[in-house]
């Protein structure tokens, strides 16, 4: 059978061409497949194997195509020459393919192992990655749950920061934010910068910073620590920011409270000293500084005894430190009532003091606190009060006896005087009667002085200028004396509400004392001045109002310090003829005028008595009082009604009046006097003058009776008589309806004067 050779040729040519193209395509795909996973050694193997096969295909296809073309073109001889080369190349490719094939197993095994390793590795990586992710997540959570925190490189670039940080300091959206851009501040890029400090070798740095957030300033404390790599090389700083705003607020509040307490402590009116357990001073306040003369800086750390020197005021013996007592007993300790503090300059202050232990929260003693106050003025006031109380006691006594005593004296004095009149001056008994009269008058003065202390001796005040009272009282005492007096009284001296009689008595007594102190003569100086409400010279215990000051100065022998404390006591005197009542009365009068009297004296240098009297609300100087005109007296025959419960007084008054030619009626009390007055009026023999005792024990006195008498006859002339010469009614008799006063005991002349005044009165 003969078959065409053409199919052989056609299939050879076409097959070679297709094989060539397919092989090339395979090469391309193989390369792409390998590049998909360059680290896959098996793919590389397949690629190489494919390349060998492709090489074979190319070699063979080209050979067959060349052969067919040459044979078809009758060039078989050429083909014959090149065919060995083509065949050899094919053979070589066979060997190469064979060689590659043999390595399939190895590559495959390596590949399998690698894959296995790779899978294991990937599993491990996945596992580790999972763990790492978990750790990262945990760290992120921890990081973001913590305080603001940032890690900064040595180049100031913020490497990492948590959400809390970015919430406070902006810059999260920017790349490579510098720390000094994120949170600029005065220490940035200076030696104070924490990063600089860490770079300089510090292991930990603390700084404080603040940031205004929503209008509120928040404070942070920065803790910076080194940030190192695995080789322990410094690569930055880790800074955490602890919000201390609340703590700051509390600290500020505490500081404010501490300041408040310190200010309070320093402003306390009492002296305060705190000590430690050794008795060394920890703190003193301003009052303590003032009283001791030590400043706080000087005092701190000093033993308390150096600063707080206390003595017994009476004996001068140093007292035991209260600090020791407090520490020993652990209880509050109070000092004796007569303790005095000796200041640094030697000034002595009377103090009241208490010491107490200071306990901590565990009730352990950690120190002591001494609280003391200057009671010098208080003690002085107390002594003054004591004096007043003494005088009041005298006054009560005097008031009790003065009334009866004056009645008795009235009888004695009246009778002596009338007896003198009756016997005549040439009688031998006359001098004796005169002596008796003088003694009675002295007794009267004494009674009058005693009455000053009594309640009945309350001043009858009138707004007046004191200048006249001063000058008149002084001149009266110094009249005929070798002493002179220099008055320094301003024209604008304020008015005062005073009982001129009592104040005159004060001036007189002071001038008498000065006169007695300057036996060899000299000059007394009386200086009056106005003291404004806030005048620095005003003693602190006086009321918060204006005063006038009257100083009576002498250059006499002075008063010893020992006597100074007692001079205002009743019956205390250093003079042989002194009654001991002068200064006591002065004191009493001044107190009753709500004033104050001080004395300063130095032996052989002189004494100054200073009186402070409250200025009247009407400060203007008073218009001088009109000069009383004297009237010539004329004798008047009258019907006179005497009302007194004391029969001796009735008798002597009756005798005196009848001696003067008057008709006398007598009543024992007010009611009886009224009845007589009315009865006489009915009879057409009205009473012309009535002399009424002010006080009738157990009956109607003159004060009440005059009201009814004047109701019955408004023109009735009534004289009030009393042993209480300082009774307000006696001082202001006209207000009560009387025409004149008559102080018991009275002399005949005084009685006549009173009658004349009544008659002349309108």
């Amino acid at each position: 059978m003969t078959v065409s050779w053409a199919p052989v040729i056609i299939i050879d040519i076409a097959g070679s061409a297709i094989t060539l193209l397919t092989a090339l395509w395979c090469a391309v795909l193989s390369q792409k497949w390998t590049r998909q996973k360059p680290d896959d050694i098996f793919r590389h193997y397949i690629f190489l194997l494919t390349l060998a096969i492709v090489l074979f295909a190319i070699s063979r296809s080209f050979g067959h195509l060349a052969k067919q073309l040459l044979l078809l073109n009758g060039m078989g001889s050429i083909w014959k020459q090149i065919s060995p080369y083509s065949g050899t190349i094919n053979s070589v490719t066979f060997i190469v393919i064979f060689a590659f094939s043999l390595y399939f197993h190895r590559f495959q095994r390596i590949h399998t192992r690698i894959e296995k390793y790779k899978n294991n590795l990937e599993e491990m990586i996945a596992l580790r990655t999972g763990e790492l992710n978990e750790t990262n997540l945990t760290l992120e959570n921890v990081l973001n749950s913590s305080n603001p925190l940032c890690i900064t490189t040595v180049d100031h670039v913020i490497l990492k920061a948590n959400d809390a940080y970015w919430a406070i300091w902006p810059g999260i959206t920017e790349k490579d934010v510098k720390c000094y851009v994120s949170r600029p501040g005065p220490i940035c890029q200076t030696e104070e910068c924490p990063l600089f400090q860490i770079k300089a070798g510090q292991k930990e740095v603390f700084r404080e910073t603040s940031k205004e957030i929503d209008g509120v300033t928040r404070f942070f404390i920065i803790t910076g620590r080194p940030f190192r790599d695995l080789d322990h090389k410094l690569i930055g700083i880790v800074e955490s920011f602890q919000d201390i705003s609340l703590r700051k607020e509390v600290e500020l509040a505490l500081a404010s409270e501490r300041e408040h307490l310190a200010v309070t402590l320093r402003s306390i009116g009492d002296g305060v000293i705190t000590t430690d357990l050794k008795g060394n001073i920890v703190l003193i306040n301003k009052v303590t500084e003032h009283l001791t003369g030590w400043s706080q800086q000087e005092a701190i750390g000093q033993p308390v005894e150096h600063l707080f020197k206390i003595i017994d005021e009476n004996s001068g013996i140093p007292c035991k430190s209260p600090v020791d007592e407090v520490l020993d007993s652990g209880k509050i300790v109070e000092l004796a009532s007569n303790t005095a503090l000796i200041a640094r300059d030697g000034t002595q202050y009377s103090i009241e003091d208490s010491g107490a232990p200071i306990f901590n929260k565990d009730s352990k003693i950690i120190g002591t606190v001494l609280v003391f106050r200057n009671v010098t003025e208080k003690r002085r006031t107390k002594e003054e009060l004591l004096k007043v109380q003494k005088l009041e006691s005298v006054g009560i006594l005097a008031g009790g006896i003065a009334h009866d005593f004056n009645n008795i004296l009235a009888a004695i004095l009246g009778n002596i005087e009338l007896a003198g009149m009756f016997v005549g001056s040439e009688n031998k008994a006359y001098p004796l009667l005169q002596t008796a009269k003088k003694a009675s008058l002295r007794a009267k003065d004494l009674t009058l002085q005693l009455l000053t202390f009594s309640k009945g001796g309350d001043p009858v005040k009138k707004t007046t200028s004191i200048a006249t009272t001063i000058t008149e009282s002084t001149n009266f005492i110094l009249h005929g004396s070798s002493l002179s007096c220099q008055f320094t009284i301003p024209d604008n001296l304020w008015l005062v509400d005073i009982d001129s009689g009592q104040i005159g008595q004060v001036i007189q007594n002071l001038v008498i004392n000065a006169k007695a102190a300057m036996a060899k003569g000299g000059e007394i100086r009386i200086i009056a001045s106005n003291l404004e409400q806030d005048h620095p010279a005003k003693p602190p215990h006086l009321l918060d109002k204006a005063y006038i000051k009257i100083a009576v100065e002498d250059d006499g022998c002075g008063i010893s310090e020992a006597h100074l404390e007692k001079i205002f006591d009743p019956y205390f005197t250093t003079r042989e003829k002194g009654s001991g009542l002068g200064l006591a009365i002065i004191h009493s009068i001044i107190k009753k005028h709500h004033g104050h009297i001080e004395v300063h004296s130095k032996m052989d240098e002189g004494t100054t008595f200073t009186i402070y009297l409250p200025a009247s609300e009407q400060h203007r100087p008073m218009i001088p009082t009109s000069i009383e005109t004297t009237h010539s007296l004329k004798t008047v025959q009258a019907r006179i009604l005497i009302m007194d419960d004391e029969v001796p007084v009735q008798d002597i008054a009756r005798l005196m009046l009848t001696t003067c030619g008057h008709e006398v009626l007598v009543a024992a009390n007010g009611r009886e006097a009224i009845d007589i007055f009315k009865e006489q009026q009915k009879k057409g023999k009205p009473v012309d003058i009535i002399i009424m005792d002010l006080t009738i024990p157990g009956g109607m006195g003159g004060k009440e009776a005059v009201v009814e008498i004047l109701r019955n006859d408004p023109s009735a002339k009534v004289i009030v008589s009393s042993g209480y010469s300082n009774d307000p009614v006696m001082a202001d008799y006209q207000k009560y309806g009387f025409r004149a006063t008559l102080t018991k005991p009275f002399l005949l002349e005084e009685l006549k004067t009173a009658l004349k005044n009544v008659v002349l009165a309108p």
Binding site: V8, I11, T19, A57, G63, S83, Y85, S91
Partner: protein, 149 residues
Amino acid sequence: MVEMLKTHLRTGMGFFVLLMLIADPAWAVQTHGGAEGLVTHQIGHLLFAFGMGYLLLRLYHIQLNSQGWFEFKIFLCLILVWNFLTFSGHWLNESMTKEKFIHSNSGIVAFSITNLTDALFYLSRLDHLILVPSFLFLLLALHKWRRQK
């Protein structure tokens, strides 16, 4: 494994030496005599075939089931067949006499098939019918591998 390889190599080499000694070259078709030497080429074919067979064997053992390997195995099978076919063709070519080829002026135009050997020879000249599909399968295998992630 190495021993098995050595055995196969020895067997293959002996077969080809024998074959080359008895073959008679035919001018009408491509021969691998001359400077190249048929034996060399045939040994190459055998090595090629052996390599492909070895790959096939390994793939059979390692049971690669992913996409593309099946096509690759087909490629190996076809290329293995092709090797044996061309190996036979080269071998039979040596025994073909000139009379078997009918020439014209332009060259061989027909082939006289008188026995099974002639038929087999003629068929071996159509080896591209196997070679081209084998490469297509290789292309398909590579394509599938490449598509895989």
